[in-house]
Subunit: 378 residues, 2 copies
């Protein structure tokens, strides 16, 4: 007999796949032939089909939002602290959908999938996909699941960009948008970090223009560097100092180029781990989706005009120590919504963890999300 | 006839070399056999030998602090706006010394030099050198030049660490220390960025454990990434946004992995340029010197105790938008000096440029340095 699962876990979950035969015209001009999306659901869609919540993922995550797999009891969903029975997004009340985005490497159609035109893996030929494209694909999944309107779409970071884009692409199909630790567009510095990560991957001799699958190699060195760099931007300077400080791994300086400091060990470990399971072509595309997201661009940079289409109510949350997408960036979103007299709640959490705070268990944060969902009528 | 040089330039300068036959015991335990230092001087050492100022360089610079070379009129010294006749560090009054540090790649003994034990280039066998080692070597140069006591030692960033270390290693040989845009020790985040840069270099297939000279290659890909990343940390988010914003290079998004944004173009250019002239082995060692600098380490982390040895007067300057070595880090130095009742002036400049502000022409900054030097008795 297995150990009982915690009371508030959704328990054992099973990923599913939906196939969409109709081609999808992408923002970049390419058309993707029929595609698949990997997804999971938790809870039960009610008779009125009014209780569905879509949870969108950021860079390093996918459709496995909550619960565990029967054959992988250690593989807990990435937002399991947020989603489950009695949790802030309560699966006793809501029907929650997690989906791996197009271009992903966790089951949805992406660079590792077969290109029907050639029968070979897409590799470097898989098109650049955008937040808008992801939302279009997610809408197909909603159709497939019989969901006309989401009670809410929710995400952190890049996931929150999707929650924002839903209110613009399908203003009548979303009632609430939860935008957490996000920004209406990347800054030059944000793009710069992404570009260094991309250059690390594309200049790796094992990259082969993205067609490395056929060469029996992966650009692991580049992907590892990209992840190490990304990781720095997810944590605050203070959180890093608190967690690692200048602690030496072996107590003394080595006077060589092995690991001296614990922070070096940590970063190398994170990079090594990530580079064994994530696909470099997907990483490239996700960073481009981040860079390209800018709903105000079509309105001469006027975010207020861009957000005029939105009809949803918003909960916007930022974290004080997040220097990747600082609170000021969230306030831009709030201001644009207020300019349009939209219903918006804004919470700025004084949290030390940096950008990754959106994944953590700050009680004020969790309670705010819980309260917000509690007030959503079904 | 050549165009006249600006009135306040030191004009045409000639680099020199000094050879030191006596071995140098390094902090790491290794002993460097006789070594050479490349240096330049501007102005005239007065009869009392009381007007010498040592200018220490940071990562991307060397002994060419001011003026131009006869055969390279475009090659202006890296701190030419600071050093010259009538400039803040006035060469009409002071005798200024610039020196390339040990382990460098601009003429001083370093990884590209011949290892006397083998007759081949040191490469990866060149020892890790520290700020303390640099100061020891600089003291030999001072002896060579007949300078018993420096009126001042001055630097920005890593250069400022040397100015600080001088007050600890040779408290009786330095009267004033100018510590600009610096820190008493790197934070975990600072080390993390350095570590990603080092990993980019050492995992480049052309690195060959640092012995790439013998393979006829250089780890250019890694060095280029290191420089791109470093460059991000030298600029503030605001300065990058001001200078590049989200401006597209060709007016439209490319939906591929070529350059979309101007900031990408700029970073690639900086990385490409740097990787053609800088030595990767030197880069590795300079980042280690940064990581290792921590005068308080020998005093249980108590900087006040560490600075008790210092006798010099200090000018400490920081820049508000410098997130690499933020003003709070400079204030730690000031506090430690005040705890010891040392003479210290502190200036926090409200400048938008980030860390690189120490190289720029902010009038308040320039005037403060000018005034400080003006008050130094000779």
């Amino acid at each position: 007999m297995n150990a009982p699962l915690p009371m508030d876990s959704v328990g054992i979950v099973t990923p599913q796949k939906a196939r969409f035969a109709e081609p999808l015209a992408l923002k970049g001009g390419a058309t993707l032939p029929g595609f698949e999306l990997a997804y999971e659901t938790y809870g039960t869609l009610n008779a009125a089909r009014s209780n569905a919540v879509l949870v969108c993922h950021a860079l390093n995550a996918a459709h496995h939002v909550a619960g565990v797999y029967a054959d992988e009891p250690e593989n807990v969903g990435w937002w399991d602290n947020m989603v489950g029975p009695g949790k802030p997004l309560d699966t006793n009340r809501f029907f929650v959908v997690g989906v791996n985005n197009l271009g992903g490497c966790h089951g949805s159609t992406g660079p590792m999938s077969a290109n029907p035109a050639t029968g070979k893996q897409w590799g470097g030929d898989f098109p650049v996909v955008t937040v808008e494209d992801w939302v279009q694909a997610q809408a197909r999944l909603a159709d497939h699941l019989g969901i006309e309107t989401f009670a809410a779409v929710m995400g952190g970071s890049l996931g929150a960009m999707q929650a924002m884009q839903w209110t613009l692409s399908f203003p009548d199909r979303i009632r609430h948008s939860l935008v957490i630790a996000s920004t209406p567009k990347l800054s030059a510095q944000n793009i710069a970090f992404n570009e260094v990560a991309r250059q690390a991957i594309t200049t790796d001799p094992d990259f082969h223009g993205g067609h490395y699958y056929g060469h029996g190699v992966v650009p692991r060195t580049g992907l590892r560097l990209a992840r190490m760099l990304g990781h720095i931007t997810y944590l605050s300077d203070d959180a890093m100092m608190e967690k690692f400080g200048r602690t030496l791994r072996s107590g003394t300086l080595g006077f060589n180029f092995d690991i001296d400091f614990e922070i070096e060990s940590y970063l190398r470990y994170q990079g090594d781990k990530f580079s064994t399971y994530f696909d470099a072509n997907t990483y490239l595309r996700i960073t481009k989706a981040l860079d390209y997201f800018d709903p105000a661009a079509a309105f001469d940079g006027n975010l207020s005009k861009a957000m005029a289409r939105a009809k949803a109510a918003f909960l916007v949350i930022s974290f004080s120590s997040d220097w990747r997408f600082a609170p000021a960036r969230s306030r831009e979103i709030v201001r644009a919504l207020l300019d349009n007299r939209r219903v918006v709640s804004y919470l700025e959490i004084d949290a030390p963890h940096g950008h990754d705070a959106f994944l953590m268990d700050d009680a004020r944060y969790m309670n705010a999300v819980r309260a917000y969902f509690g007030n959503i009528d079904l």
